[in-house]
């Protein structure tokens, strides 16, 4: 790990950007560590939630946007409801994932699969309006090069009538596709 100078900001704009995009006063964090104490995925994190917040405060943009933890965050929101400084930590994690994606950073390690899953999921919704579990799973398996992952689960689901084999699509498919396109345009226009 590289040495960090505590007396100078790495990227002074970073905390301002994160604060603006998340709407959260990240500078208020006083490092009590409650977020990390209650984080159910801390055991799998490369940076603990309180470290992520501290590193945002210090402007360590590259380290934060390249960590796995921002992707592994399960969005359980426990950190948020326990934060004594009223920082919505889960929302900050969302913001950091979104920033990393916009900057074209490929998520490292286990984060890669989360990003792939999200992309796959939303791609399917844009085309079909509703999630079709079978197709989404099959596509995820193919994209990650593990075609038979969960095949036995699939069969067990089929036996229990829990695997839908036909797609139900809402009628407003154009409308849903347009929502995705308009969001893309709005974000290109400099909005979040």
């Amino acid at each position: 790990m590289k040495a960090i100078r505590l007396n100078q900001w790495e990227d002074r704009n970073f905390i301002e950007l994160v604060t603006r995009e998340s709407g959260q006063a990240v500078e208020n964090c006083y490092q009590c560590g409650k977020c990390t104490a209650g984080c159910p995925i801390a055991f799998a994190c490369d940076l603990m939630p309180n470290q992520v917040i501290r590193m945002v405060q210090m402007g360590l943009k590259e380290e934060v946007l390249h960590c796995q933890s921002i992707w592994l965050c399960a969005s359980c929101v426990t950190c948020t409801v326990r934060c004594p400084r009223n920082i919505d930590v889960a929302r900050v994690m969302d913001t950091l994932r979104i920033m990393a994606r916009h900057q074209g950073i490929s998520p490292p390690g286990k984060g890669r699969y989360v990003a792939l899953f999200n992309e796959n999921f939303l791609g399917y919704i844009q085309k079909n309006g509703r999630l079709f579990e079978l197709a989404t799973m099959a596509m995820f398996n193919l994209k990650t090069g593990q075609p038979f992952r969960e095949a036995s689960t699939g069969l067990a689901m089929l036996k229990r009538g829990k695997l839908k084999l036909t797609v139900t699509k809402p009628r407003g498919l154009d409308e849903i596709n347009r929502i995705f396109e308009k969001v893309r345009q709005a974000e290109k226009g400099g909005k979040k």
Binding site: E21, P40, I41, F43, A44, L72, A74, S75, C76, V77, T78, T80, V81, D88, A90, D94, T95, R97, I98, R101, K110, Y113, V114, L116, F117, N118, E119, F121, L122, I125, G129, R130, L131, F132, E133, L134, M137, F140, A156, M157, R160, G161, K162, L163, K164, T168, P170, R171, G172, E175, I176, R178, I179, F180, K182, V183, A186, E187, K191, K192
Partner: protein, 285 residues
């Protein structure tokens, strides 16, 4: 009571027991559910992880459809509930954002309706009201109520206390069951990571099963199709990987409530679980 019904994607397939039992219980209790015609996905975790605007626009379309029906909306799925409720809250708070989202969806959501979870909708009947209709009390059945994350967090949309909620326990008590005290009822089960990083999710599931098992509960009772699938299906994997032998059926609260109300078991889909439910169902006759 009449509500717009947003089943959500999971309830069409992996969570079909929840859809069937919710519809059956509500019909019996006089809660009229009218499915939102043409509803679409709320975007779930993938949505808010990818774009804040998209995470509002996808639910907003469905809120607008419900508002066109002139009805408050209910979603049984905890994730759908959270997305719809948060969007409703944010758009009501921020008229500028509401306008921006309406431009994106091409629909005019005015914030005139409320989003309620199915737990709250059933709770409106009142515990006494439920108790009066119980014909087959779940005597001797010890249940561990499991809430997971999205019904109780964040604060602006929580249906109950985020650390020690009681609403499932109260409804189960009214049904004659005996809730146990246990520490993991709002711990995350890791469902959002179950496909991308199953090893992490399996560890999270195993902690919950261990705590439920130590509490002496005969089964888990939940109100989310993602928690349900994760705790039910992955229980077999936990046993295989960790050499444990958990046999804790996971029920939707609507399934057990349905039994207590004397509904036809065929309408509650009691035998499509991964963990065999027979031994627990025998206890309640």
């Amino acid at each position: 009571m009449k509500l717009a019904y947003y089943p959500g994607c999971s309830l069409e397939a992996s969570g079909k027991e929840y859809d069937l039992s919710t519809r059956a219980v509500c019909k019996h209790l006089g809660i009229e559910l009218i499915e939102i015609p043409d509803w679409s996905c709320c975007g779930a975790t993938a949505g808010h992880s990818t774009s804040h605007l998209l995470s509002l626009a996808l639910p907003a379309r469905n809120l607008a459809l419900a508002e066109e029906m002139g009805l408050d909306v209910t979603a049984p799925c905890a994730s759908c509930y959270q997305r719809l409720a948060l969007t409703c809250y944010e758009l009501k708070q921020n008229p500028r954002l509401q306008k921006e989202i309406n431009e994106i969806t091409g629909r005019s959501f005015q914030g005139k309706i409320k989003v309620v979870s199915i737990l709250e909708a059933i709770n409106y009947i009142g515990l006494e009201g439920i108790q009066n209709q119980v014909v087959k009390p779940l005597k001797g059945l010890k249940i561990a109520a499991y809430y997971g994350c999205l019904l109780v967090r964040p604060r602006n949309i929580q249906i109950d206390d985020p650390e020690n909620p009681q609403i499932i326990e109260k409804i189960m008590q009214a049904s004659g069951a005996e809730p146990v005290e246990w520490p993991h009822k709002t711990e995350c089960c890791g469902a959002s990571l179950a496909i991308s990083n199953e090893d992490i999710a399996t560890t999270m599931v195993s902690r919950i099963l261990k705590a439920a098992s130590l509490s002496g509960a005969h089964c888990l009772v939940c109100a989310c199709p993602l928690c349900h699938f994760n705790l039910d299906m992955r229980q077999l994997k936990v046993n295989r990987l960790q050499g444990t032998n958990y046999q804790l059926p996971v029920f939707y609260f609507t399934q057990l409530l349905g039994i207590a109300l004397g509904l036809n078991p065929d309408d509650l889909s009691l035998h499509t679980h991964f963990v065999d439910t027979t031994h627990v169902l025998k206890m309640v006759g």
